[in-house]
Subunit: 328 residues, 2 copies
């Protein structure tokens, strides 16, 4: 499980694998070849108002539809990998709890295996995406990397020596819920000061909204008005680039917390790469260049310790599918 398949290796034995990225809006399926290319795709809507058994049946049918579309027999595939939100049990086969789906104790792998002649492997969706980036994306060639997705929350996936690291006991590696500012902003998890409460896109929007209210003459305000009065994570970056002081303050604050969280990740995991994903990562060099400068002075043991490269994800939504396929 989680073994890296090196591009170009075993070309003679080009076994296909199926990757499924289970999201709150849709389940995205891909047929993935040995070079980690998605050679066929299929998508079904996530239906949460039906019993999970029915959703699993629809997923199994979607697997059949995918392979049929690609003209590949199911038996030619080596297995199915699944990335799911929420927490898996110790066997990695039961979804103990998924907030997004409202599922509890769903024996997903077992039910799927009753319907399909292929073995099922599962992982948390953020972990699968991290594995995808290591197998075929921004951290290709690295044996170790940490993916931080900066979206509604801060998701995290840690790859050590080509394998997903999720800790030995149930609960998973939740980097987004590492407190970096004790007693600070309330997090969705109930604690105060988590990385998620300072480094998510939602946190950036909160910071920008607060700053905009204090600075009615700012470009930050103007850009928000032009966007119909709805702040988003791009506006403060745009304002800062226009030379707007309010926008600059927001970005400086956001980046200082993000640098703090990334330096913690480096001090703890010493990965070769830190990959930023999610909406905020669309800023690319705008984000990675200043962060690299800030982080390099924060890591313990510098100049003796190695400081990871900070890069942005390149696979986007495909990371989850490719990573899931590499669970097989």
């Amino acid at each position: 499980m989680g073994k890296i398949r090196l591009t170009g290796k075993n070309k003679g034995d080009n076994a296909m694998r199926i990757g499924i990225d289970m999201g709150g809006m849709s389940f995205k399926l891909g047929l993935v070849d040995d070079d980690n290319r998605i050679v066929a795709r299929h998508v079904i809507p996530t239906e949460l108002d039906i019993p999970y058994q029915d959703m699993i049946r629809k997923t199994a049918q979607a697997v059949r539809d995918l392979t049929e579309k690609a003209g590949v027999a199911l038996e030619e595939c080596t297995g199915i990998g699944v990335g799911t939100p929420g927490m898996l049990d110790d066997t990695g086969r039961v979804i103990l709890y998924s907030n997004n789906f409202g599922w509890e104790n769903v024996p997903f792998a077992e039910e799927m295996e009753k319907l399909l002649p292929l073995p099922i492997s599962m992982a948390n969706d953020a972990d699968a995406a991290a594995l995808g980036e290591v197998c075929a994306g921004a951290a290709q060639g690295a044996r170790s990397a940490v993916l931080l997705t900066l979206g509604t929350g801060v998701g995290g996936g840690v790859i050590i020596d080509g394998h997903i690291f999720h800790g030995p006991v149930r609960g998973g590696c939740e980097i987004g819920h590492m407190v970096i500012a004790a007693g600070g902003e309330t997090c969705t998890c109930g604690r105060s000061g988590c990385m998620e409460a300072y480094c998510s896109a939602s946190a950036l929007i909160r910071m920008a909204t607060e700053e905009m209210e204090k600075s009615p003459e700012s470009a930050l305000r103007k850009l928000c008005d032009e966007a119909g009065g709805k702040m988003n994570g791009k506006i403060p970056f745009d304002a800062a680039q226009m030379g707007d002081e309010a926008g600059r303050r927001v970005i400086d604050e956001y980046e200082s917390y993000l640098a703090c969280g990334i330096a913690n990740v480096i001090n703890i995991f010493r990965p070769e790469k830190v990959i930023l994903g999610g909406g905020v990562a669309a800023q690319r060099d705008n984000l990675t260049v200043p962060l690299t400068e800030m982080v390099k002075n924060m890591c313990f043991g510098n100049p003796y310790g190695e400081v990871a490269d900070i890069v942005v994800s390149v696979l986007g939504n495909d990371a989850g599918i490719i990573g899931a396929a590499n669970l097989v």
Copy 2:
């Protein structure tokens, strides 16, 4: 390297190993049997005013003296494990940098192997102590544990599946230098708000000294005066137990930061045990009982995630020797 030797296993093959705990004051050597008992000991003073080559020669001689004292031939031992402060290189054989010893790029393992007919394995001293507690101490029987030493600084050692986790690239896993209070107290590492700056014995003494100055009528003050005006990490615990409000405030503050750091460790590593060592851990249940209560409500995914037991180290200084021996 780092493989757990289960007590009672392989009794027929009772090979001895030598463990060396290199400290700033002394190098402590132990001959460790297959049941992880230290059957002979030897100590030499750490001499930092001589060339490292000479200190290595003295260490090799100390190994010979140890085995001679025990009546065991060197050849009956399987190897020598060494726990050292500072940072090792990627091969784990060269001390890249040790602040305590003032050493840089010291090829310790190679030099020792020139002088002794045994293979040398090395690890960071906190890592070795963590391994010792897992092999024969507070986390015996666990496959995974995190040791946090609450002393002058906050040291950390992480054991995953019976092996020391130090991250894939140079620099080590430095849990003490995880920022938990961004922008807070300055840490010895140069950052602000590290766990070390809030959870070390030094931090506790700082908090107690500040509180004492604000509360001249407190038991905290009285106990400090009785101790010759020198605050220590025991006084605030004693004052709190006497019902002193100033003492209680110090302990509440200290424990809230420590709980925060421990909950981060659990959210990141999901170990079976968190072991507290160092001077502050002498408080035992005084510390672990309230911490257990605080931490259990802080961990992500509770009640679905598992929350590690919080225990205190039982091997004390022997953890480093036994852990080092288990590097062999």
